[in-house]
Amino acid sequence: MRAVITVIGKDTVGILHKVSGICATHNVNVIEVTQSVLQDMFAMIMMVDISGITSDFSALSDDMAALGTAEGLAIHCMHEDIFNSMHKI
């Protein structure tokens, strides 16, 4: 089982560190990261493996949302099924 974490916002030092830190505390493994900084906008799509998650998935998404609020970033943490069902037949 995998989930997609997307982060969009103003670039600052340590965004990737903080996001992956939360993943680690929930025992969520980062599989793939696509990241770019355009001017000073930071955009990242992170694919993570949640099969070993030690908490509820909603706890992970709550933590990500809290980080987003604290850092002024738009962070979305969504189960991959939503993308698969929408874009694959």
Partner: protein, 452 residues
């Protein structure tokens, strides 16, 4: 493998284009709660609903977090209460409404539908008492919704019921006049009512349905509007294709959420209702889709054609995306809940007559239309009869949800707030249909009802 374009498209739909799951609705049969002692029956109703739907809201909130998609409403529909009221002939059915309200409060759902009666061919025990109690029931409860089916393609239109419903709608507005006439906003008069509709105010749990099931109503006028806006020069058939593809994607969300909710609640999955349901939020308007197709304002000539195209394309895109499509499925045109419709009605471009024509090709009917408070009950009955006739002859569901704005005049605004929005008082035809309505009886079923 997922690509970043797809991921960002989904997120944009949710964040910017108001894509949401409008409702997950649990249908619960109350047939096993029938009891000649009304207090016992109410207790059984309360217990059954609160045990079946105990985790409905919780599960909904969990799915919201898991998929990152808002589920705006969690609702319950139940067996038409007239069937339970039939067993308690000398009692006031409002007791059932209060029991439903208590259950809705305990389960924390937004709405509970099913204070209903099906009288398309005639009244059976319990029906009349329930219908006459509707104004009181809607005024003493907040979240209970009511509906009455007065006609069908197979049986014709029960004109006695149409007559009574005119009075019920008006009375309901009068006794809630100090609360923005909210009563009739929770009351729908149907022709060809569907048994698995997850949308309020017309949801009830039909007798042919299983004991308990989960339905999902998807929405997304904003997504369709944005998709249409990307193709300003496309031909109409290209536009239909764009809408189909978008509807497919939206409906897949509903299918996913419904399947997940059904598994988590251990209740069978009923249907996905793939309706485009507008909200007063900016960008979430069906009228704006029609305007995006090339109309200066919704309600002008061409509106019916655009709506027919939209309604059909939505269905075609949606059916492949879901294993079971049902409910009303199409485009809703509730005036007070749609910013584009509100503007068009205020400007006088959108009239009651045009709306009536639009209902012949959209998924439901005359919905959330504010009419002057001094309207006569006969005129309401006649509007109901007109609308039911469209449904009966065209083999489709039609409905009427009119709000007589007591104390307001044509052009003034009635403000509900929230999802119900606000609507201008629209002009009506003042010539009297009283003689026609007073005749009573039944409009016979049309020729094409004889199919066997």
């Amino acid at each position: 493998m997922l690509n970043s374009f797809d991921i960002l498209e989904t997120i944009r739909m949710i964040q910017e284009e108001c894509l949401d799951i409008r409702t997950i609705t649990m249908g619960i049969s109350l047939l096993d709660c029938i009891d000649p002692d009304i207090d016992k029956a109410c207790e059984k109703v309360y217990n059954k609903i609160t045990s079946k739907a105990a985790h409905l809201v919780e599960v909904g909130e969990q799915i919201e977090k898991e998929y990152g998609i808002p589920i705006v409403n969690k609702r319950i529909s139940v067996t038409p209460i007239a069937m339970l009221a039939a067993a308690c002939p000398n009692e006031n059915p409002v007791k059932f409404a209060l029991a439903l309200q208590r259950a809705a409060d305990t389960c924390r759902v937004n709405f509970l539908g099913g204070y209903s009666a099906l009288v398309h061919k005639g009244f059976s025990a319990g029906d009349l008492a329930l219908i006459k109690s509707i104004p009181e029931a809607l005024s003493v409860t907040q979240n209970v919704c009511s509906s009455v089916n007065i006609g069908s393609t197979r049986s014709g239109i029960n004109m006695d019921a149409a007559k009574i419903m005119g009075e019920v709608v008006l009375e309901s507005a009068k006794i809630t006049a100090n609360r923005q006439c909210i009563g009739p906003a929770k009351l729908v008069v149907f022709c060809n009512a569907v048994e698995d509709n997850p949308f309020m105010a017309g949801a009830f749990h039909g007798v042919g349905e299983p004991d308990c099931e989960i339905h999902v109503g998807v929405s997304g006028p904003g997504v369709v509007r944005a998709a249409v806006a990307k193709y300003p020069d496309a031909t109409i058939d290209e536009l239909a294709d764009v809408i189909k593809k978008t509807a497919f994607k939206i409906t897949r969300m509903g299918q996913l959420v419904g399947a997940r909710a059904s598994k988590m609640l251990n209740v069978p999955f009923g249907i996905v209702d793939l309706s485009l349901a507008p909200t007063p939020a900016v960008g979430d308007s069906v009228a704006h889709i029609l305007e995006g197709m090339g109309l200066e304002q919704c309600g002008t000539h061409g509106t019916t054609a655009c709506l027919a195209l939209l309604n059909d394309a939505v269905k075609k895109g949606g059916v492949m995306a879901s294993s079971n499509v049902g409910g009303l499925s199409g485009a809703f045109i509730p005036v007070s809940e749609d910013q584009g419709m509100i503007d068009a009605a205020k400007a006088g471009t959108l009239t009651l007559e045009k709306l009536e024509a639009m209902t012949a090709v959209c998924s439901v009917g005359l919905d959330m239309i504010v009419v002057p408070g001094d309207i006569t009950p006969e005129t309401i009955s006649a509007i109901i009869a007109d609308e039911a006739a469209i449904g009966m002859v065209n083999n489709k569901t039609t409905a009427v949800r009119l709000i007589p704005a007591i104390g307001l005049k044509q052009g003034e605004m009635l403000e509900f707030g929230g999802l119900l929005g606000s609507g201008p008082v629209m002009p009506i035809n003042r010539k009297s249909p009283a003689k026609f309505i007073s005749r009573g009886g039944r409009i016979p079923a049309p020729m094409h009802s004889i199919k066997n």
